[in-house]
């Protein structure tokens, strides 16, 4: 019999419900896979004891028919979510000893629905990065490698561990956070499905803050249906987050398989970039064809301020980060370097506890917020953000969804872009606008490039219309017949 960790979320769910196997058996196979995949460095903390104990309690609930929608299913959690009593580091030296005394709302919702914590997943430090290379715990290795070149590749970031673990069949799904593409870009690089919900759909309470007006939690899974199931359990109206939406939470799973006939797909012309590779263009064309065949209408649209989204983001996100990260002072929690002078203690603590990219962003953010530069940079960027949002509002009067590539390229090699912050930032060019405008967006695997690496298509939707994204993503998934990893080269025998 195949190992149970090969089953996707809905297969495992149905198998548990039919009592084809127990949660303990399912969890045991996932723990085995997690332990034999340590060379990927996807996990910072493994929690096998918690997982096995929870599995027994899930098995009891299943036998009594009191099981929740995710009962007995193993989920990996990005180390940006506070988990009560379990080390939560944000992949930073600054929090390398932090044991939260409370649980984030999103993870709490999952445990209430019966899901089981498998471990805490590696990410870029404080979610700042696009390759998972800024982690204090070292880079995550992408389970995908090129056909002819076996050098290790990045899984994307910042939710690199979340995407790599799911692609490697460790856990049936994982939680990520997305501030500028941190779910969608790694999903694209690992052949996974990743959704950033509408801003306000998932509570931010208990998620370590990076840029509060942009951060959103979201699911990463091996297929679209799984993604819709996991999202539904993550959502709730939470009074502990002032920007948590009270809108009704739909049954997202029902949207998977729904017809898209007569719906309109916008192709934003400004997303066609100079020097865009033929492979990306071809993938995009294929996507259009698939949707057209399923009865959707393809319409060219214009989002005139697209080219300003990335520079706008790289003012706003660091500005918010510099403010959010002011709390790491070595007094109440986390890393601390002692000194007799309090200012000296702050400076030494922060200098030693933060990595280079985090410092760079704090510095950048402090600069654009400082006296004399606030209007020229920060306020200017927030005005440009209004123009970007308006572009999307107008386009969504004409179309139901937008189709774009998820990334300008497939996964790159470790160290390839690490020394050039700007070229790293450019990786988020297609994903950042949805964060600035607060819109839901999903990345779905669509094809493989000439080296056999996954490429993803992105769908951007209207606010709170994740359902339409799932209906469209399902069509792309069915049309692409994308095959997941078969060569598990990284396993330690």
């Amino acid at each position: 019999m195949a190992k149970l960790n090969e089953l996707c979320l809905h297969e495992a769910r149905d198998g548990l419900k039919n009592k084809s196997f127990s949660s303990r058996e399912l969890i045991t196979d996932h723990i085995d896979m997690m332990e034999s995949s340590r060379s990927l460095n996807a996990f910072i903390t493994e929690t096998p004891e918690i997982a096995l104990k929870s599995a027994d309690s899930s098995d009891e609930k299943i036998s009594k028919n009191t099981n929740g929608p995710l009962e007995g299913l193993p989920i990996g959690v990005k180390d940006m979510f506070c988990t009560k009593g379990v080390l939560t580091t944000a992949s930073s030296k600054m929090l390398s000893n932090f044991i939260p005394p409370y649980e984030s709302t999103v993870t709490n919702n999952l445990w209430d629905n019966g899901a089981i914590l498998l471990g805490k997943l590696n990410n870029d430090e404080f979610a700042m990065g696009s390759s998972n290379e800024t982690s204090f715990y070292g880079p995550v290795i992408n389970p995908w490698i090129k056909n002819n070149d076996k050098s290790p590749l990045v899984p994307g970031g910042s939710s690199g561990g979340s995407a790599a673990s799911v692609a490697a069949h460790i856990g049936v799904g994982s939680l990520g956070t997305d501030t500028g593409g941190s779910i969608r870009q790694p999903a694209a690089f690992t052949g996974s499905v990743g959704l950033k919900p509408t801003y306000g759909r998932c509570s931010r309470w208990g998620i370590i803050a990076f840029a509060s007006s942009l951060d959103q939690a979201g699911p990463i899974t091996r297929n679209v249906k799984d993604n819709s199931i996991l999202l539904e359990s993550m959502c709730s109206h939470d009074l502990k987050d002032t920007t948590s939406s009270s809108k009704e939470i739909p049954n997202f799973e029902k949207a998977v398989g729904k017809s898209i006939k007569g719906l309109k797909v916008g192709i934003p012309l400004e997303f066609i970039q100079d020097g865009m590779s033929d492979e990306i263009l071809k993938m995009w064309e294929n996507g259009k064809e698939w949707l057209k065949k399923s009865g959707a209408e393809i319409v060219d649209v214009s989002l005139p301020h697209t080219k300003y989204a990335l520079p706008c983001y790289y003012i706003i996100a660091p500005a918010e980060a510099s403010s959010n990260l002011a709390r790491y002072d070595g007094v109440r929690f986390g890393h601390s370097v002692s000194s007799d002078d309090i200012n000296n203690m702050y400076e030494l603590t922060r200098s030693d506890g933060f990595g280079e990219e985090v410092k760079r962003r704090i510095m950048m953010g402090t600069y654009v917020l400082s006296s004399g530069y606030y209007d020229a940079y920060y306020l200017k960027a927030q005005k440009v953000r209004s123009l970007i949002s308006n572009d999307y509002n107008e386009v969504f009067n004409k179309v139901d969804v937008l189709l774009t590539p998820s990334t300008p390229n497939s996964a790159f090699a470790i160290n390839e872009k690490y020394d050039d912050p700007l070229s790293m930032y450019l990786n988020d060019v297609f994903t950042v606008p949805a964060n600035l405008a607060g819109l839901p967006a999903i990345s779905v695997p669509s094809s493989k490039d000439k080296n056999g690496l996954p490429l993803g298509l992105q769908l951007i939707g209207k606010p709170f219309d994740e359902e339409t994204l799932y209906s469209f993503a399902n069509i792309i998934e069915e049309s692409s017949s994308f095959e997941s990893i078969d060569n598990k080269w990284w396993l330690q025998k």
Binding site: F98, S338, Q382, V384
Partner: protein
């Protein structure tokens, strides 16, 4: 606009991050590159545009709750992560002479 060495030192001071001379130099290069790049926003006419600080709140109001105590009594749990504490208080270096 370009950033100077003095700017970098001042920003580091404001950020409460101590930097070595080499770090100052390397941040000077990085910040100038990034600032040069984000300066393209000056091409956009925003004279009659108001800023968007959050995409939330266009369709519904932000949540507000009554100002009443809802939890508490967890001093020890909170203090448990403190690098230095004494008698249930956070311990810091002497601030006032």
């Amino acid at each position: 606009m370009s950033v100077t060495i003095d700017n970098v030192k001042k920003i580091a001071k404001l950020s409460k991050i101590s930097l070595s001379d080499d770090e100052v130099k390397s941040f000077l290069t990085d910040l100038n590159k990034i600032i040069d790049w984000v300066d393209q926003l000056t091409d956009v006419d925003t004279d009659k545009v108001s800023p968007t600080f959050s995409s939330f709140g266009l369709e519904e109001d932000t949540n507000q709750r009554n100002d009443v105590i809802k939890d508490g009594g967890c001093r020890d749990a909170i203090i448990s992560n403190a690098p230095n504490s004494e008698d249930g208080f956070f311990l810091v270096p002497k601030v006032i002479d």
